[in-house]
């Protein structure tokens, strides 16, 4: 085993173990082939080839195993070949074999050399990559690259998130003065509406709504009461409303959609809150217009 002395012990053992497994079935096969040989009429040429392959296969094995193989084959010529391979392993074989198989042998040898080369190399135990990989640098480089890529991706994601969150504000846990002010306004509005509703429905309480004749008259009265509650009589506001709304319409025909909206929909008593503000006249006017149209 001249060749193998160079290789590390670990590599050798490994290879041997692998061989043992493969070898026995191979021998059996060969035996069978031999038994059948007469029947199948394996040509001498082919047989030679088989033998050679087997020899080469076993060429770098232990002595014992090779002997087994030799016995199985039971051929003196192979014996000699095997001895040759055991002593020199390469070189001598090339003389006897045919050109077609030479390449195969070469390939095997090249592979063997390459493999041995790899195995000879001392690679430090490291978690960076596979055992046989010598390209530690490459792995490190790759990792660094990946990280950089991830960083870029993360930044892009962050940016996207920022864009998506634009204008999104988490409210504070406490009510600041502005929020309190807004709640105050809303509360005022609600109170005003509720009071108005209560007042309107109080008057209604004793009446029978099923008698529609009465109900109609009473409803009108109620409306008046409501407007007086708002600080305006319905007569007053209606006249005011007419005067205030008409000139505006004439002045700005471009605002027709506004006016259309105005006429189409019936925003009835939604503007109770508006009375607090300055635009009383207009709103009240609209309200009264609506009420008139209802009647």
């Amino acid at each position: 085993m001249v060749m193998e002395e160079g290789s590390t012990a670990v590599g050798k053992r490994k290879r041997n173990m692998g061989k043992k497994k493969v070898k026995k079935p191979k021998n059996k096969k060969l035996k069978m082939l031999e038994g059948k040989g007469k029947k199948l009429r394996v040509s001498k040429k082919m047989r030679n080839l088989f033998e050679k392959r087997a020899r080469q296969y076993n060429s770098d094995d232990d002595e014992e195993e090779r002997e087994e193989g030799e016995e199985a084959l039971g051929d003196t010529r192979i014996d000699r070949g095997a001895d040759n391979s055991a002593e020199e392993s390469d070189g001598s074989e090339e003389d006897e074999i045919q050109p077609g198989v030479m390449k195969f042998t070469d390939g095997v040898r090249a592979f063997r050399l390459a493999f041995k080369n790899i195995i000879k190399r001392n690679v430090a135990d490291d978690s960076l990559g596979p055992v046989l990989s010598g390209h530690k640098q490459l792995v490190a480089k790759k990792l660094a690259e990946e990280e950089a890529e991830r960083k870029v991706k993360g930044e892009a994601k962050k940016e996207k998130h920022l864009v998506a969150e634009k204008g999104h504000v988490k409210p504070a846990n406490y009510l600041d003065s502005h929020e309190k002010f807004l709640i105050g306004i809303a509360t005022k509005g609600v109170v005003k509406l509720f009071n108005a509703v209560n007042k309107a429905q109080k008057a209604q309480k004793g009446l029978d709504p099923s008698r529609s004749k009465d109900a109609k008259v009473i409803r009108r009265q109620r409306k008046e009461a409501f407007f007086s509650e708002l600080g305006k009589t319905s007569r007053d506001s209606s006249s005011k409303g007419n005067t205030s709304s008409d000139p505006r319409n004439e002045e700005e025909p471009a605002w027709a959609p506004l006016r259309d909206n105005y006429m189409l929909t019936n925003p009835k008593l939604k503007n109770w809150d508006k009375t607090a503000e300055a635009g009383i006249a207009d709103d009240a006017g609209r309200m009264s217009e609506d009420s008139e149209s209802d009647d």
């Binding site: 504000v169 009835k268 503000e277």
Partner: protein, 352 residues
């Protein structure tokens, strides 16, 4: 064994309950006014928080809106408009994203006008619930339309007036002679700030609490739970001992109403009740940037960046609208196929 054979097998047949298709009325049966309905949808792809805002807005617009309105990428404005007609949808609330700030467009169908608001800041309902110690959400909160309060719009600006009319008409009217106070559960507040020209959009829940009753007794009546009397010497202490007075109670005397009819177990007729509001979100700060005559098109009646239609519009919005109008033009042929699908989709969502 015979017993077993004789025993009749009872086959349980699950009664097939037909899902009642409650058609929402188009017209209020009391006042006879048309009930405004709305679609809240988006143009273009929205990022997560904005999609949430869209959902919040839909909840706010309940019950006369399509809560589960499904939109597809290929749906254009015309699809929605085609569905809106037969379903009696009167208003569109359209959310879209621009490179600077999200945009909310409020439009009346089918002819417009369209108001374009920039959303300077917004908080979702979730954020607001998180910021509160005890977020409140009664079951039937969203079963009735909200009230709307507009304040600060008194300035005689045309655009402001149009804004007020638009928002007033977005929710159904209330008739004070017939309305039940128990159905007034929510309120939407729009407050215009003259100095900053921003509109604060808030959404509160309304709660009535009896005044002059100690907290303990109120809770006792509300919760039906056996109170903890461990620390008391006598039962009478439970009634007489004053609890912690809330400091806010003093300055809220103005916020009291006298009820004429029973509202709930706690709020009886002819008792004084305090009106308490709690925010439910979403919260938005809007800036009116543009008014268009048509539905997302037509002449520009007002623009924040200079008055009149000749002014150059800001790039983003213009781009958006161009897309819209182009799409409308191109898709006209293929619309008819899509319409059917869309209609089904939307109807399904309405039923829910």
């Amino acid at each position: 064994m015979a017993r077993f054979h004789n025993r009749k097998k009872k086959v349980f047949v699950k009664p097939i309950v037909k899902k009642q298709q409650q058609q929402q009325p188009n017209v209020d049966h009391i006042t006879g006014n048309k009930i405004p309905k709305s679609f809240v949808f988006s143009r273009g792809k929205l990022p997560g928080p904005l999609r949430q805002l869209q959902m919040d807005l839909r909840k706010l617009m309940l019950p006369y809106t399509a809560l589960k309105l499904k939109e597809k990428k290929r749906n254009n404005l015309k699809d929605f408009l085609n569905v809106a007609g037969p379903m009696g949808v009167t208003h569109f609330l359209i959310l879209s994203k621009t490179e600077t700030l999200p945009v909310l467009r409020v439009a009346k169908t089918p002819q417009g006008p369209t108001l374009t608001f920039k959303i300077h800041e917004y908080s979702l309902a979730v954020d607001i619930a998180q910021s509160q110690l005890r977020p409140r959400c009664p079951q039937d909160l969203f079963k009735n339309p909200p009230l709307i309060v507009l304040s600060g719009f008194a300035a005689a600006n045309e655009q402001l007036r149009l804004t007020t009319t638009m928002f007033k008409n977005i929710f159904p009217d209330i008739d004070i002679n017939t309305v039940k106070l128990s159905s007034c559960q929510r309120i939407v507040l729009l407050n215009y700030n003259k100095d900053t020209k921003l509109i604060d959009f808030r959404h509160y829940s309304i709660r009535l609490q009896p005044v002059g009753v100690s907290r303990r007794i109120r809770k006792f009546v509300q919760n039906h739970q056996v109170p903890d009397l461990r620390n008391l010497q006598d039962v009478s202490d439970f009634v007489t001992k004053a609890g912690y007075g809330s400091e806010s109670e003093a300055d809220e005397e103005a916020a009291t109403v006298t009820l004429t009819s029973d509202l709930s177990r706690v709020n009886r007729a002819s008792t004084k009740s305090a009106v308490k509001l709690q925010e439910i979100g979403p919260r938005m700060t809007l800036q009116l940037t543009k008014i268009e005559g048509g539905l997302c098109s037509g002449e520009v009646m007002f623009s924040e960046y200079g008055n009149g239609g000749n002014e150059k519009k800001p790039g983003n919005e213009e781009g958006n609208e161009k897309e819209d109008s182009e799409n409308d033009g191109q898709m006209e042929d293929s619309d008819e196929d899509d319409e059917a699908d869309n209609k089904e989709d939307m109807e399904e969502s309405e039923e829910d």
